[in-house]
Structure formats: C-alpha cells, structure tokens
C-alpha cells in the first residue's frame, strides 16, 4: 500500500481485504485516525485489522473513550465522539498514550479534535456511498 491510496468497497468481504492490506503495513509507533459518519464502518474496519494481530475482543470505545488490546502487538483504540472539549483528552492522559511508541494507536472521530493529533499519522476517511458501498481514502502525514 502506498499513500495516498483510494479504494472502493462494495461488500464486507471487500472491506476485509482492504483491512488485510492495511494491516500488513502497520508497525509499532503508528497512529491511525479514522474519520467517517456514524455507520460508515470505522469500528468494523478496525476490528478486521486487529484480527490480523490475533486481537479478537475489539469493540467500540465510544463509552469507554479508550480500549486497550494486547495481541501480537499492543493497541490503543480511542473514540473522540463523546468528548466535549480538548481538556477531557488531557484529563485522561492522552500524551502518555502518544508517548508509548511500543504500541499502535487507532482514533475514531479524530477530526473532532485535530489540534491534539500528532503530525505524523495515517488518516483514513470512510465515505458512505450506499448500504453496501464505501469509499476508503488513506493519507499519510509525515
């Protein structure tokens, strides 16, 4: 996978293939932002990626704000949807998670608080086309 990268998915099976491809480039220290409307499939996509690393308990962290999974690697999975203001992110010690470069971080709804996102990151946008079709775009910020 080379960036920027665009790909259409017309089925869940297609999305799983895209997730497999994306999983193959992940390594420790990476921060991945996922943007897209409710129901676009952000959590589904992350679940598929994490299965590649033998993480089977991935779930939406909308209410927990952050989940931690340990499989072949360690993952932190954030969801900014329920965050009201930036100081709440500092209150949960988000810098400490960013400092842990022996892990991979996923952030759903990262676009709600762009100012806290590290410069170096991969940003994925999932656009809802219709019930079965999605458009994925991947951008890498250096």
């Amino acid at each position: 996978m080379s960036f920027p990268y665009m790909r259409k998915s017309t089925s869940e099976q297609d999305t799983i293939l895209i997730a497999d491809e994306f999983a193959s480039i992940l390594k420790n220290g990476m921060i991945v932002i996922l943007n897209g409307d409710l129901g676009a499939g952000k959590t589904f996509f992350i679940k598929q990626v994490l299965q590649k690393f033998n993480v089977t308990n991935a779930n939406s962290p909308t209410f927990a704000i952050v989940n931690e999974y340990v499989g072949d690697l360690t993952f932190y999975h954030f969801d900014f949807y329920r965050i009201n203001k930036e100081s709440e992110l500092h209150d949960i010690g988000i810098e400490d998670y960013f400092n842990d470069e022996q892990s991979i971080i996923f952030i759903e709804w990262g676009n709600l608080f762009p100012e806290v996102l590290p410069k170096q990151r991969i940003q994925i946008k999932i656009d809802y086309i219709d019930e079965n079709e999605r458009e994925f775009s991947f951008i890498k910020y250096e």
Binding site: E86, I94, N99, K119
Partner: protein
C-alpha cells in the same frame, strides 16, 4: 537557586522522617529520609506499573527504615512536569497518606530535583538540558547550570516543539526520555529522565522550608500543558 542550607535544615527539623514519592516518568519510587546520610529508598522501573506498585514501594521503604507509616512527618512528592498519569498516581498517593496522618505535603519541582541530583555528580559550571516528551510533537525543556551541589536556571521550564530542539546549543549535557530517532541528537545518559526518590526528599530538605502545604484538597501536579489548552469555541 542559592539558599542558606544550614538555616533551612534547622527550620525543617520537625519534619523528619520525610516520605518522598517519585512517579513522574519511568521510575516508581519512594524514600524514607532522615537526612542526607540516612535514608531508605525503594524503586522499580517497569512500564505501566506505577498505579499497581506505588504502595508496594512505599511499604518497602518503610520496612527498610523500620518505621511505621504513622512516624512520617512530611510527604515530598515529585510534582512534575512529567507523565500525566504518573504524576496523578504519585499525587493521589501523597494526598491520601497526608490526609490520613494529618501531615503536610511539599510539591517538589521534578526537573529541579534532577538538576540537584546531577549537581552532585558533574563539575561546577556544567550546563545541562533536561527534556522529556509531551506527546509526539512537543517536549518539556529546561536548561540549568550546575554549581557546587546546587544549580541555577539558564532557561526556564517550558514546552517547545520537537523541531525547535535541534536548534538548541549542544555544548550542554542532555538528559531525557527521547531517543535519537526522534531528535537526531545524541542524548547523554538518556536513560536518566527522572530524579531518584531520595533526591525528591533531599530537595525538600534543602529548599522546602516554608513550602509545606497543609490544605491539600486542591493541590495538583504541574502539568504545564493544562494551561495552554485552547478550548474549542462552541
């Protein structure tokens, strides 16, 4: 910071033994401190363990010193800057113990305690930079000049962008938790990014007179970052 050490020591006489707590970075440590020639430290280095281990290291230090918790007269806690979670763990432990024993707390500036520790090792006039990570793109930064068992600020504590770090003078010795892949700068003894717990106590011993806080309800660590958060306009 030049202080008449002898007079400070006599002012602090009623405050010993001190229990100090250091959790600002990789060290999770505690020390029961009577004076600089008699102290009992316990520390571990283990990622993500501070909340689980803080009371174990405190108990270990008390056991080494053969005293009871109720013998402690003062808590000295490492107050930051540093890891958000780490500082909160140390501060919560300090507040809990202080509350239960009705004893005061001194909040020790973490970078100054480390400069103080380094002043015992490096020659006079040595300039040192202490710089630890704040997330991925920023650093806590302070520059000191070491005096004989003392230090002065050359540049005040602040947050700087990672990119700015490379333009700083490199005649100073650099300490911190960055690695070369982030900064392209060689870190001298980079594994030293936090003071040992006995130097938290020793800083309180030397410079803490008058800084005892009895009303501990609202004390909190020096996060720095808190004050520069730009709230989103609704």
């Amino acid at each position: 910071m030049r202080t008449n050490v002898n007079s400070v020591l006599s002012n602090m006489n009623n405050n010993f033994p001190v229990l100090s707590i250091e959790t600002s970075d990789n060290i999770c440590g505690a020390c029961v401190y009577f004076n600089k020639e008699k102290f009992f430290s316990s520390k571990i280095i283990l990622k993500h363990s501070h909340s689980e281990k803080i009371f174990d290291v405190i108990e270990a230090a008390l056991k080494l010193a053969s005293i009871n918790k109720s013998d402690i007269k003062l808590i000295a806690v490492s107050g930051g800057p540093g890891s958000f979670t780490g500082l909160r763990i140390g501060m919560s432990a300090a507040k809990g113990i202080a509350q239960s024993l009705s004893i005061p707390v001194i909040i020790v500036p973490t970078f100054e305690a480390l400069a103080f520790q380094l002043s015992a090792v490096f020659p006079e006039q040595t300039e040192i930079i202490i710089s630890n990570k704040v997330g991925r793109d920023e650093l806590y930064f302070a520059k000191f000049q070491l005096m004989s068992n003392n230090y002065i600020f050359k540049e005040d504590l602040k947050i700087i962008p990672l990119t700015e770090f490379n333009s700083f003078s490199k005649d100073a010795l650099i300490f911190g938790n960055m690695d070369e892949s982030n900064t392209k700068v060689f870190f001298n003894l980079k594994n030293i990014s936090a003071p040992d717990p006995e130097f938290i106590a020793m800083w309180a011993d030397y410079y803490g007179a008058g800084k005892e806080i009895n009303d501990i309800d609202f004390i909190e660590p020096n996060y720095i970052k808190d004050f520069i958060v730009k709230e989103k306009k609704s």
